[in-house]
């Protein structure tokens, strides 16, 4: 189980409280679909994903990005109990959505890059390290119920 120090928790929550979930969620998912186009395989029904412009402007991508990052908010609230917090979502991603857990790692790293872009100097190496721990913990938790 991942253990977060008080400093790591502070580093994470200090950024999280500023995050516009709709904006950052949309950008994170959009960039995932552009930088790693094979991830589009899960979104055949989303319509036009044919160019970076199309992806970033796609309303379904924006809505889904917001949904995903809202769920990520649960991670910030449950840093000490990630596996429990994401147990149901893990089952869903395995049994219904059939998502390779590698995608959780890709999305987590994408979130880190987007946060760096928005928070610049404030996103120091130490702050990044805390977030890397969190996204890795979420990726493991989401993969935990796979069979």
């Amino acid at each position: 189980m991942v253990h977060f120090t008080a400093e790591e928790k502070a580093a994470i929550t200090n950024i999280w409280k500023k995050v516009n979930v709709e904006e950052i969620g949309a950008e994170t998912l959009g960039r995932l679909l552009i930088v790693y186009p094979w991830t589009q395989r899960f979104f055949d029904t989303f319509g036009n994903l044919s160019s970076p412009c199309a992806v970033m402007g796609n309303p379904r991508v924006k809505a889904h990005g917001k949904k995903v990052l809202t769920s990520f908010g649960e991670a910030v609230k449950n840093m000490d109990h990630l596996k429990e917090a994401f147990a149901k979502l893990s089952e869903l991603h395995c049994d219904k959505l059939h998502v390779d857990p590698e995608n959780f790692r890709l999305l987590g790293n994408m979130l880190v890059i987007v946060l760096a872009g928005h928070y610049g100097k404030e996103f120091t190496p130490d702050v990044q390290a805390a977030w890397q721990k969190l996204v890795a913990g979420v990726a493991v938790a989401l993969g935990n119920k796979y069979h």
Partner: protein
């Protein structure tokens, strides 16, 4: 995985924007990597990896210079990076997984310093470029 004409243009433009900051960004990327992925420090037992370390600064410059060389020879990376490829295969033998970790931290650094220029298309091209460099550097491993 092939770099398109657009990818090459994006990479060249990005390197022009980086200008004289290459060494600084190289060092920052290394510092980020050592903090976020402590296992990467196992390749540098002889280094002081603390913030501001002169060794990390010097190594950051080496990495940045190599990437600048690569950016200037996108049509023939294997030839341009041949010496470094030999070095990594026969002497350094850095496990291939670590190139992804450094690449990620380089992207984080660029994103933090150039948010306006680091748009999704440029981000994608740079990710591909760094992956292509890593492929060349590990190409002689076995």
């Amino acid at each position: 995985m092939v770099l398109s004409a657009e990818d090459k243009a994006n990479v060249k433009a990005a390197w022009d924007k980086i200008g004289g900051h290459g060494a600084e960004y190289g060092a920052e990327a290394l510092e980020r990597m050592f903090s976020s992925f402590p296992t990467t420090k196992t390749y540098f037992p002889h280094f002081d990896v603390s913030h501001g370390s002169a060794q990390v600064k010097a190594h950051g410059k080496k990495v940045a210079d190599a990437l600048a060389t690569a950016a200037g020879h996108l049509d023939d990376l294997p030839t341009a990076l041949s010496v470094l490829s030999d070095l990594h295969a026969h002497k350094l033998r850095v496990d291939p997984v670590n190139f992804k970790l450094l690449a990620h931290c380089l992207l984080v650094t660029l994103s933090a310093h150039h948010p306006a220029d680091f748009n999704p298309a440029v981000h994608a091209s740079l990710d591909k470029f760094l992956a292509a460099v890593a492929t060349v550097l590990t190409s002689k491993y076995r």
